[in-house]
């Protein structure tokens, strides 16, 4: 057995260090976890996401105390019990609803930052892949949560999305029924999505967040110029007091102070939305109780799923499903599709810079068209935007193959 200092007072620093190695942990995870100095506020999005996830978790716990996962009670437990009988229930619900929407905005900003600066490239592939796994799990979490108020949009979105599993011409309705636990969304459907939303998926998310942080530790965070930094040498300089010359800063407290400032600004905007502008996150249609006999005139997913919905929609049944499937996995492949050796911001990478903006704008166009009624010119534009999306993958292979080493 290891040696323990007899005189160390219980729970003193030394006492804890001997038992938990707290000093080592603190050094490795915080005061000597080196971050490049050359970064901008986009590098704070990870912490902003962590904070938003924290808000979702806390507000979710409060909602969970009063929510009833039962098709006869779910709607009123949300819209009556929580909104008018529980003290500040309305606040927790609006925080939860707004955070669920805003978290995707930040995820997209976080993703596009990674793409712009090439932060998924050699050595950092696992950061990207674990991030994509988080994106997919967050999507499942958002979708399952959207079922819970059991309004019209919950019901019909549940109907449409589970129908996708019939696999088009495969007509695998047995699989659809197995997923739903019924022929149509009903009580079994609601209770299993409840379980997914409050237990299984949050557990997976927490595990993946740990993995995502873990993947960062060895390759380190990328920087604004994509410069390769000798972190050990730079760290020695910093520790020797040559802070100006050193290219790195410790996570705590230097990088953290910037993170916290960015979070402060973000929370001003976030709570402005919670109190004065929450409608965008809480679709009016979902304030009508679920009714299997009344199809709403327009069924659309929440805004963050619209781009992939629009890749499904303009094509005939089977090609549409295939395109949709490709869209779901394509981004995972990014570190392997990009063949360029350069880790550099897009504006230094020639054609890749053009590719990046075409991709971003195409995603926004798809998002907007995904909500518009599929009629006339919108249909044509949707098909064009979806085809562009599908061509962007092969285009990236060619563009990055041709890219010269900087």
């Amino acid at each position: 057995m290891a040696k323990f200092d007899e005189k160390a007072r219980p729970f003193s620093e030394k006492w804890l260090d001997e038992r938990l190695a707290v000093n080592t942990l603190k050094r490795v995870l915080s005061t000597e976890y080196w971050i490049p100095k050359d970064i901008n506020f986009l590098w704070a999005m990870g912490m902003v996401l962590a904070a938003t996830f924290g808000l979702l978790l806390i507000s979710g716990i409060f909602l969970l105390m009063y929510y009833k996962p039962d098709v006869n009670m779910a709607f009123d437990s949300v819209n009556y019990t929580i909104m008018s009988e529980v003290g500040f229930g309305w606040l927790w619900r609006h925080i939860h609803g707004v955070a669920a929407s805003v978290v995707f905005l930040i995820i997209y900003i976080h993703m596009f930052t990674g793409i712009y600066y090439g932060s998924y490239k050699k050595g950092r592939e696992l950061i990207w892949i674990s991030g994509m796994l988080l994106f997919v799990t967050f999507s499942a979490e958002a979708f399952s949560g959207y079922m819970l108020p059991w309004g019209q949009m919950s019901y019909w979105a549940g109907m449409v999305i589970t129908n996708l599993f019939s696999g088009g011409s495969l007509e695998a309705y047995g699989l659809v029924e197995w997923i739903r636990g019924d022929y149509v969304p009903g009580d079994a459907f609601l209770t299993r999505f409840f379980m997914l939303h409050v237990l299984l998926l949050p557990l997976v998310i927490i595990g993946l967040i740990v993995l995502h942080f873990g993947t960062l530790r060895i390759p380190h965070v990328n920087n604004q110029e994509g410069a390769e930094i000798d972190f050990e040498e730079a760290a020695e300089l910093y520790k020797a007091g040559k802070k100006k010359e050193s290219k790195v800063i410790p996570f705590n407290p230097v990088f953290l102070s910037k993170d916290v400032f960015v979070m402060g600004v973000y929370f001003i905007l976030f709570f402005y939305l919670v109190f004065y502008h929450f409608e965008f996150a809480m679709d009016p249609v979902n304030f009508d109780p679920a009714d299997g006999l009344k199809t709403p005139p327009h069924i659309y997913p929440e805004w963050y799923f619209l781009w992939s919905y629009e890749i499904l929609r303009p094509f005939p049944k089977d090609p549409g499903l295939i395109a949709f499937g490709i869209a779901q996995v394509a981004l995972f492949m990014l570190p392997f599709i990009d063949r360029s050796p350069n880790v550099a911001p897009a504006h230094k990478r020639g054609l890749f810079f053009v590719w990046f903006w075409v991709f971003l704008i195409d995603m926004i166009v798809l998002t907007v068209l995904g909500k518009l009624p599929p009629e006339g010119i919108f249909n044509t534009l949707g098909a064009v935007a979806a085809v562009i999306f599908l061509l962007l993958g092969p285009a990236l292979i060619v563009i990055t193959k041709l890219e010269k080493k900087l």
Partner: protein
């Protein structure tokens, strides 16, 4: 500065996306219906009428506009009003499925021209004439045999307008205008009004049977049970509610919902009640919001000072 430039780009694309999926997409999904400021002179009805009905509607609303110009005699109107009391009385029973409303606040809640139109031809006034081959078939059809000449209509409407039974509360406005067809479970109201509390379960069940009977009556008349309005204020936009209540046919062509003829103050009262029940956190949001935002403004400012301090000798 570079960071501000990046921020500007992020904000720009965020706002473009927001504009696209919210105001723009919604403007394409819902056709725009012009409101007409709670004025009921038949202009919109004539415009929307099918060709074969246009002339009838035009003639009808011309008459209504003519009657509105007559000087009504309140005393004569009061005498005529006795005929209304045959149906519109306390403890009224359902007629053709719907309980005739109390007319206690009719003068305050409803528009004058609308009231004239209702006495002259209820189906036309309510813009549900497509439901009745013969306007006499309307549950209120018999009124057409009670006030045969224009002057008597002007008189009874003058009486209704003159009779003000004190200030109308939002709940009374909702009860008179909406609640004979629409329940409001978050306010514990059904088609029979406020739900009483019962000491014994069997009394509560017996009452529930009465409610179900009343609902069956409404269902028989309207074709389906009209929706519960508990949180309709959050399920529909303000503009939709306003134009729909003003003239249901514009938003839902063919609907069996009658136009109720609320004037602007009447509509505001109904909306106030719908908001009170359907969006009870509104005053709380307004009270708490500024403090939370102020907190984060101070938080961000202190965080900025901390950041400045931590980064003071890095560059």
């Amino acid at each position: 500065m570079r960071e501000l430039k990046i921020l500007a780009i992020v904000v720009f694309f965020t706002l473009v996306t927001y504009y696209g999926v919210e105001p723009f997409a919604h403007s394409k999904m819902h056709k725009h219906v012009e409101g007409h400021g709670f004025v009921y002179d038949g202009t919109a009805d004539v415009e929307q009428a099918s060709d074969e009905k246009k002339e009838t509607k035009k003639a009808f609303w011309n008459d209504v506009n003519e009657i509105a110009k007559l000087e009504g005699n309140v005393a004569a109107g009061e005498a005529g009003f006795a005929m209304c009391m045959g149906c519109h009385m306390d403890g009224a029973v359902a007629m053709g499925g719907v309980v005739p409303p109390s007319l206690e606040h009719a003068g305050a809640l409803y528009d004058k021209k609308y009231l004239i139109a209702v006495v002259k031809n209820p189906a036309m006034a309510m813009n549900t004439d497509h439901k009745f081959a013969d306007p006499m078939m309307h549950p209120m059809g018999p009124v057409m045999t009670m006030f045969m000449d224009n002057q008597s209509i002007a008189d009874v409407v003058a009486y209704l307008k003159a009779k003000k039974a004190g200030e109308v509360t939002p709940k009374e406005a909702f009860t008179d205008a909406c609640s004979r067809c629409h329940a409001m479970r978050y306010a514990k109201m059904t088609q029979l009004g406020d739900t009483p509390t019962f000491k014994y379960e069997k009394d509560a069940l017996a009452y529930k049977i009465n409610v179900l009977d009343a609902q069956d009556g409404v269902k028989g008349y309207m074709g389906k049970l009209p929706p519960d309005l508990s949180i309709i204020i959050r399920a529909r936009s303000e503009h939709f509610l306003e134009t729909f209540i003003e003239n249901p046919q514009t938003q839902l062509p063919g609907t069996s919902m009658p136009r109720v003829g609320l004037n602007e103050e009447g509509y505001e009262k109904v909306k106030e009640f719908l908001t009170e029940i359907g969006d009870p956190s509104k005053p709380k949001r307004e009270a708490v919001g500024p403090y939370v935002i102020l907190f984060f403004v101070v938080f961000a400012f202190l965080a900025f000072l901390w950041k400045k301090y931590q980064w003071r000798d890095l560059h």
